[in-house]
């Protein structure tokens, strides 16, 4: 019976990817060509090829490479945008973090981030995992393990063994619930990112969503903001230091 279940699971997971195998190889070959162009110093061609690969498929590595092209072409706001996108998919990646840090040094605005965001690297690495589905897979495994342990604890007769298996079952259930929660939040984060990067060279952040209201502060290209809501072409944004205001949606680009 377990075997039937396993093959069912495999078929549902793998079949959808297999169906588009042709297009995937196409995207892979575009990426290989882009990489050759980049190492030959032609970042403009590399960027165009990477962009064309990044239509239906994407990955943290691809987004990171696009960010690198923008950086080398001195388009810092876009470099930051793509590094942030890559980091969203792979929050623990050292290379993305390091390049993002370098790109941020070249922006004008210095926003003091809350300390938690900076020391969270280890937590982010652990939480972010290698790809978006990692926690979903982990939740499946831990859930199956928890139930298996439970079944085992019922089957054994030795009292001590039964107790230990019950304790292990309890731990596994807690871990499984944690994994489900993480999988849910990670998927939501990637599916509905709330961050955005300022693209306009300079933009006033105003107190109300209309032209001519009081300008609260001034932002420059490359600064990361959190979009709280959008309303008729205006976005309510919050900075990492907690300041909130409105700016035109066209001045920012969503991560």
């Amino acid at each position: 019976m377990k075997g039937i279940f396993a093959s069912l699971l495999l078929s549902t997971v793998i079949l959808p990817f297999g169906a588009h195998a042709m297009e995937r190889t196409e995207a892979d070959s575009l990426i290989a060509r882009a990489q050759r162009a980049y190492s030959a110093g032609d970042q403009r061609t590399a960027l165009a090829l990477y962009d064309s690969a990044n239509t239906r498929y994407t990955s943290a590595a691809l987004l990171y490479n696009i960010g690198n092209c923008h950086f080398k072409l001195n388009d810092i706001p876009h470099a930051i945008l793509f590094y942030e996108r890559a980091l969203l998919r792979e929050p623990g990646a050292d290379d993305i973090r390091s390049n993002l840090e370098l790109a941020r040094q070249q922006t004008l605005d210095r926003v003091n981030e809350l300390p938690g965001l900076q020391l969270g690297s280890t937590w982010e690495r652990w939480r972010g995992g290698h790809d978006v589905d990692q926690w979903a897979r982990r939740s499946l495994w831990t859930w199956a393990t928890a139930l298996f342990l439970f079944a085992l604890s019922m089957a054994v007769t030795g009292l001590f063994l039964k107790r230990s298996l019950q304790v292990l079952t309890g731990i596994a259930v807690v871990v499984a619930i944690g994994a489900v929660v993480l999988a849910g939040t990670r998927t939501h984060e990637v599916r509905h990112p709330d961050g955005a990067i300022v693209m306009a060279p300079r933009v006033d952040v105003t107190s109300e969503p209309r032209v001519g209201s009081t300008a609260l502060f001034l932002l420059h290209a490359g600064t990361k903001v959190t979009v709280r809501k959008e309303e008729a072409g205006w976005a309510e944004v919050a900075l990492a230091n907690g300041n909130v205001g409105w700016m035109p949606v066209r001045a920012i680009e969503r991560i």
Binding site: D133, A136, S139, A144
Partner: protein
Amino acid sequence: MRHGIHTLLTACVLFISTGALAQEITFDAKVDRNDFAVGENIRLTLSLTNGQGDITTPDLGGLVVVQGPFESSSFNYINGRMSSSVSRSFTLTATRPGDFTIGPAKARVGGGTISTDPITVHVEKGSAAPSDRSLQNVQSSNPDLFVSVTLSRQHVHVGEQIIATYTLYSRYPNLEVSNYDLPELNGFWAEEIDIGQTSWEDQLRAVNGLNYRVAVLKKQLLFPQHPGELTIGAVKLTCTVNRSFFNRGSRVEARSQPVTVDVTALPSDKPADFCGAVGQLVMDISVDRKEVKANEAIELTIRVNGRSNLKLIDAPKLTFPPDVESYDPKVEDHINVTGGGMSGSRAFKYLIIPRHEGDITLGPYSISYYDTEKDRYQVLNSEPIAIHVGPGSGNASARSSRPSKETVEMLDHDIRYLRTGDPGLREKDRFLYGSWAYISGMAAPVVALLLFMGWRRQREARAQDVTGQRRRRADRVARKRLKEAEQALTSNDREQFYAAMTKALQGYLADRFGLGVAEITPEVIATRLADRADDGELARSISDLIATCEMARYAPIEGRPRKELYAEAVRSIRQIENA
């Protein structure tokens, strides 16, 4: 009007003159031609005939006297008539094209004054190659005494050398310079060129047809320090001219005109090792020795040779191996500043002390300069120099056994390279979490667990019902054993028969009542079968039957025929079963 007065005067003179001198007095001015070019000469002649008096030189209206005045006079007696003439002539030239008017010349004759008509001349642009334009300008401001500032080049790069020559032009035979003001040189770094004692040149020099005595006052090397239009201001010279034993002379001021230099910035692709030199250079690197002991000094010399702004070259910033101590370089110059510019060599001497034994490599080092002939930056590279450092004397080698730790120095920052290898592409907006695969994956273990628990419960229920099972199976088991007994009966195997009989009866009862075989005693049988209506008949007969069979099994006594025993056993079991 003036002509009228002139005629009247002439008439008066005529009237006054006696017979012998009844000659006409004339005074006129002539030029040999009215059209000429810059640099050419014309001759102006003022002649007074039949009169004697002072002739005043007319206003020349911008024309310059090259030579003159020359005076000549003549007396003639022809047929008893005396005529005299006095003439004064000048050689004139023009320093610029245009129309010039020579004003009226005046002569005082007797009590009156007569004057000539003004003359207009037209000056063309010279057909001959004109002199330096700036020279022409400054000449026209004062043709007798001026100073020119000539530059070897007027379009230069920042740092490129220019030779500025200050030359005095004079047409005064006698001149003393009493004071001079040199211009301020804003934006230049200047170096004097030694030209020795200032003296007049042997040859006269002609400028626009005028001959001058010339003296070079000063030569300077100028190095522009920043791009743009840089101006060298005017030189002011105060001179005393025509001083003689009898004459205190007069003061004349000579000036030059400001000169501008167009300085362009060096191209922006300045190499990091640019040393500030502009010109032509070669580099030579040497060390005084290649084998040393630890803690002994080596002198590394970098010498640049050539024609350039050598005095402005900065010491190259050399990097040495980390365990080598180095000191700021000593600068040694062999620089000549001559009329040809600045040339020679500048040497930077670095004292370096290797602290530990081992082989070290110095360089390769490079410096770059701006080559004015090729109009681009040139890099001078050196070969690396290998130095063998032998063990130092006692104390030092003990120290060298423990090398000091150096922190890794970051030279520059750059982003990390691309991620290569499998990009791990996945479809956008397709997530495992929340998909059907995920839901079924979560549900599947639950279903499996429920199925497992159901199966287990069923098995347990059956396991609990073991007595019923035995009871249900009791008849079947008994029949099987009775069949064995029947076989033993036919084969006349006594022992086998009684064993099978005992087993069949006892096993049946044990199965039937859910007891162990050992528990089957006559009392138990009686109790179990007490509810029967036969008043314990069946119980007694079974107990007897068992007892008989047991007895017959272990002792050679056979109370009853075997066939009868068998039949009774079968009947008894059927009776219990049917109840």
